[in-house]
Assembly symmetry: C2
Homo-oligomer: 332 residues x 2
């Protein structure tokens, strides 16, 4: 398949601001052929702004069965993913679906099962697995630049202000997805952490609610043990003062700091600064989806991997609520 | 009392490299009148290098009862503190004793009880409570510079190499003190964290043994809840690559980063860099001890405060060994 005819389900912020700008650059491999949105006014409005203008469907299944699309891009509140993915697969349509995989690990497992039973692709779009600085950092670690890596520290101070447009989406104001922002933003961070540190075995955490408008706990202090015995510290707040996102990785013979688009490397006493091109991780994500539809193995969009990301956050939320540490595999 | 006649018990590294250089600057308020060391050769050697040369005792109690000293500076393996402090108080001698207060919280409680029963001063020397950058940071937080502080993140990557002279002291090679370096170095960090964040309520942690020569676990990933509900992340390794010690404090309206002798402040969007004079924290510690002997309240050298520092580390060690979270007060 050279060009994938894509239907889009959901015309919210992710579609408009993240996916469509990437797809516009990928006219050689994608054609946005159709739009569906629960409120048709929004899909009509969006279609009117696009060239060529995709066909608007007011019924999701009609879009799937129209014969006009090969794949669907689902960008909906995560509680709807399961049903929408299931219907797409029933219609023989490939799926790319915005993270998180679902509202909870239990629901996410059903998505994994659907994907395993189908011969169509189910690709969970987690752009952090495509961010160059993380893939480059992972490569540097694997090449032994910091010796044996043992400690991964991640901090995200990403305040979501009261007037932020994401904050004002209804499903985020009244979250059904576990931990609210802790999972909505958190699966991104865990995806990158797992890329760098490997799979997580155990989690223990404290959480805190700072804001009165984010719908759930908004601040988390968490430590984890990876399956290979490394330690991970993961700190995040969506409510406190905004002061950036960074990661520090300490090994036996060096350390590495990742912030903005820069990797600062101290390897065996030699210091290096690597400025990383900030390419569009959404564009890379869609290119990778195209590859998997063409028959390549689905690694970076694997539902099982997305499920693991969510399970780590769910483990942290359970840990902070029940005052005990949680084995991630016990949720899977 | 204008000038305190000081006897020193223990002529190890702390005495030679940390205490005597400070005392040399404080000739107006201290006179090092006597030395005691289990191996007399070392006290003789040290006395020979000092001007004026203090009297050397080969028996600790003889030094205490000589009538030639008003106070004793105890710098011994922490398992000996209890007995040495008790004997000093029995002889009516004031005490300044190097941290940690003891090998364990249970033993440290006895030191607190000894101090409470005595009219002499028992001052636990914790120099981190006298480090200007931390006292200045604490002042900035209290003045509201970062709004309401809510998250304290501390990381210490302070590799102790195989040939380090501390590493080669016998009592550190075969530690009786809880967690080995985790408490030996850790009480310093917790003292500073408590200065900034307040008292710790709950602790949960994972530890790891990286080196084969540090005698115990050497790497810790820990999160805590303070009594006023703030979150603390405390990460430390004595074995991994050396890449410094720093703290980041995030509040509702600003954040602060403390590294080397610099405080980087982002307060309500306004950035400031404060370079802090690196004065001698050991000198300030002895000045403060002198004040308490002269009748001022013992705050920064309070045995109870030193006990709290140690209890937090013990809670972290217990947490990582028993896979549960630990209330600090349950150890006190």
């Amino acid at each position: 398949m050279n060009k994938i005819r894509l239907g889009i389900a959901g015309c919210g912020i992710a579609t408009r601001k993240l996916h469509l700008p990437a797809l516009r650059k990928l006219g050689n491999i994608f054609e946005v052929a159709a739009l569906y949105n629960r409120t048709e006014r929004r899909s009509q409005e969006l279609a009117g702004q696009m060239k060529p203008s995709p066909r608007v469907f007011n019924n999701y299944v009609d879009m799937l069965e129209s014969g006009e699309i090969d794949a669907v891009d689902i960008s909906l509140p995560p509680g709807l993913n399961n049903e929408f993915i299931s219907q797409a697969l029933d219609a023989g349509i490939h799926v790319i679906c915005e993270k998180p995989i679902s509202n909870s690990t239990a629901e996410g497992k059903k998505v994994v099962e659907l994907a395993e039973r189908s011969d169509r692709v189910v690709y969970i779009a987690e752009n952090f697995r495509h961010v160059s600085k993380f893939t480059e950092a992972s490569r540097l670690i694997e090449s032994g630049k910091i010796g044996s890596p043992a400690f991964f520290q991640w901090q995200s101070w990403v305040r979501m202000s009261r007037d932020n447009e994401y904050v004002n989406t209804n499903w985020r104001k009244h979250p059904d997805h576990i931990g609210g922002y802790l999972s909505d933003g958190g699966v991104h961070h865990i995806a990158a952490i797992r890329l760098l540190a490997g799979d997580i075995a155990k989690v223990t955490a404290f959480s805190k609610t700072v804001s009165d408008y984010l719908g759930a706990e908004d601040t988390l202090a968490c430590v984890m043990q990876t399956k290979n015995g490394s330690l991970v510290s993961y700190n995040v707040s969506y409510a406190l003062y905004k002061c950036g996102m960074s990661a520090t990785i300490i090994g036996s013979d060096g350390c590495m700091h990742i912030a903005d688009s820069r990797i600062t490397l101290d390897s065996h006493g030699k210091k290096d600064i690597l400025d990383i091109d900030q390419d569009d991780s959404y564009e890379r994500e869609f290119v990778d989806f195209h590859r998997t539809v063409c028959g390549e193995r689905n690694i970076l969009g694997s539902p099982l991997s997305a499920l693991h990301d969510l399970a780590v956050i769910e483990a942290a939320v359970i840990s902070s609520n029940t005052d005990r540490r949680v084995f991630v595999d016990s949720l899977l």
